[in-house]
Amino acid sequence: MSELLVMRGIVKQFPGVRALDGVDLEVRAGEVHCLLGQNGAGKSTLIKILAGAHLPDEGTISLAGEEIRPAGPTDAIRLGISTIYQELDLVDGLSVAENIFLGHEKASLGFTRRGETNAAARDLLARLGHGEIRPTTEVGRLSPAGKQVVSMARALSHDARLIVMDEPSAALAHDEVANLFRIIRELTAQGVAVVYISHRLEEIREIGDRVTVLKDGRTAAVGLPARDTPTSTIVSLMTGRNVEYVFPPRPDRAEPGPEVLRVENLSVPGVFANVSFSVRAGEIVGLAGLVGSGRSEIIEAVYGARKASGRVLLDGRPVGAGTDRAVRLGMGLAPEERKAQALLLDESVARNITLAGLGRYSRFGWLDRRRELADARAQIEALDIRPGDPRRPIKTLSGGNQQKAVLARWLIDGGSSSSGAPLRLLLLDEPTRGVDVGARAELYAVIRRLADQGIGVLLVSSEVPEVLGLADRVLVIREGEVVHEAQAGELDEHRVLDLVMAAHPATQEKEDAGE
């Protein structure tokens, strides 16, 4: 078989981040080529370059021997590259047929030929084994699986030579995955190449021919046989790191603190189900899982920002819906989107630190600015926020220092919130996102210090080593369920990755025996 697609030395730089740092990929006609890598390894940047959404800064791409440089989605499509994104690119208000042919409508003189469009859509849907989806149905009324089929039909409608599928099975039930595989096999039999991204190793073993592993923006391995490469090899290729993490030591506690948070049978239909756990005072509990596993949603539900069934108790008192009650009882959240959700970017560092407790500084409706500034200065010093000028706009600080300012909020007065209730539980969603590796160690130390003050911490992170190094106890989440719970010291990265990706039990045993 000949190489259909060859990507060499692809580099893509974003402000502050080198997302791709010399990636190679070779895909043959008629094969299913799996792309593996942890969150942030560069998979999505790579496929966006293929789809024409980004231009690479360096490197070459050739398709069927000709060098190409797709400068936009239309370019890529014309070259025969179709991409099915995970967040399916469909317009809810248009019909199935209109969506399939959106952007390349069957039209003469600008007028759509409805009959022809609908008939062609019907043929494509039938070819995909879903003749029951009517071309005239509005896409917004389809189930996720139905939408997946429509996206697939759209890729087919382009006569693609290469189809990129980003986690196509994520929204599908088991029997529908089988149907997806049938379609993929039909496509490859016709010589179409498929780049398949999935976190489920058992799927890769079933449908994949070869595997390319990405790690930290580089190619860790090219063209491994998908069926015979041992899971341990794949996982160590994905995890082998050059970056050292420095975590603060876990304090030795003779007796565990009292229970701060108790979560019982928390469920949000379709997102996560029957999640139960507790967090003790002084304890850091980490949630490990893939993006989309439901971990961020669990935090939101605990905080009352998301409607859920089940019970959440803080110090034995029920927390209902609505974040104001959660705050009043003593919960604090450092959200995932720091810039959008946690900071007033144009305000000073001091104001951002004192924000949650402005009530403390007001007397007869006036703000006591001197006291506000003094408190902020104390925190800046304590956390070593740099530069140390409290009047500086916070947007001029680095990500790590911004995050420290967010945490400093909860440290003032032992973390009492505006209502006067002391902080009891801190929820951290991706606390080190966008933070330099060097600055992370300091953040870890701050988080540990917060815990040592007797606060319970619930931590979510995509980076497995971070969860393992920082947390005392770890819950592993897969597809909305807690699949494992253990002390952090009893787990390692391999084990957690195996759990979140649900390696096939049989393979698992074999390798355990081999090790």
Partner: protein
Amino acid sequence: MTTASTVKAADERVRSIGLVRRLLLKPELGAVIGAVVIFVFFSLLSEVFRSPSGVANWLDPAATIGIMAVPVALLMIGGHFDLSAGVAIGTAGITTTILTTQYNMVLWVAMAVSLLVCLGIGFLNGYLVVRTGLPSFIITLSTFLGLQGLNVGVTKLITDQVQVQGLADEPFYDGAHAVFAGTISIGGQDFQIAILWWILITALGSWVLLRTRFGNWVFAIGGDLGASRNVGVPAARTTITLFMAVSAAAWFVGNTQAIRLGSIQAVAGFGQELIFIVAAVIGGCLLTGGFGSVIGASVGALIFGMTSQGIVYAGWDSDWFKFFLGAMLLLAVLANRFVRRYAEESGK
């Protein structure tokens, strides 16, 4: 049991929708029902309202609003607003009138220049929105203020008045009058020709929206801009075209007004931009884009015309008109929302 669950699963993927529910999901349904209710209401109050002369009377303002409401609705479905649509009417009429009466330009040529000016305004609006990514609300708010100032400023500078007169004395006026401001006699009753243009423009707009690829793109960019770009919809071109369609309609209405009266006020069109949006919303357009109907917007304009004249025929103080309009808008939006939610939920 197994069979039942299989059937249910299949049903979930292809929710079949009944006729009634499908009808309820039509964006223009609420407006049509509202129009019928209002017609019956005023007909009961006043005989003149339902007489041919009465009908001709309320169809006239409906036509003027409707010609604008059609492209405004298209723009809203595409996810944008144009607050400058009202004052652009003034700009169009003033340009034509000043060029003819003050600079002796031939009327038809002046109208062509005026069209170019209007298309330029639309292009500028669209280009700025596309290039800056700022909300069209802000961009067109600045064009709105700018044009409003220009309309009055330039008019005063050239004529020392806040209006331009004397168009009726110009050559070719009669021909232009026949095209833009003439009347058609049906059964002895004269109807403004603008009504005919309104119907044609509604038909054209609806056809474009529902039957052309351009119409598909309008729904797509309003519904999900990112997705549309990813599949290769020329989003920038579509957006700019929509803004230019609005300003072209403003050219038509502005010239109609100037030609009908032979003169135009410097403040012509001011405040109308919201009326067009009201008509489109009553007609079922969502402020968020991606959903709506051209016919609905036209029916919204019809409701506007009927109410504005109906209040006069009913012998009420016309000061109450705006209050009615506000109440109707709220009612229409609530009804649309309720109907849509009901239809969607029972569809599940």
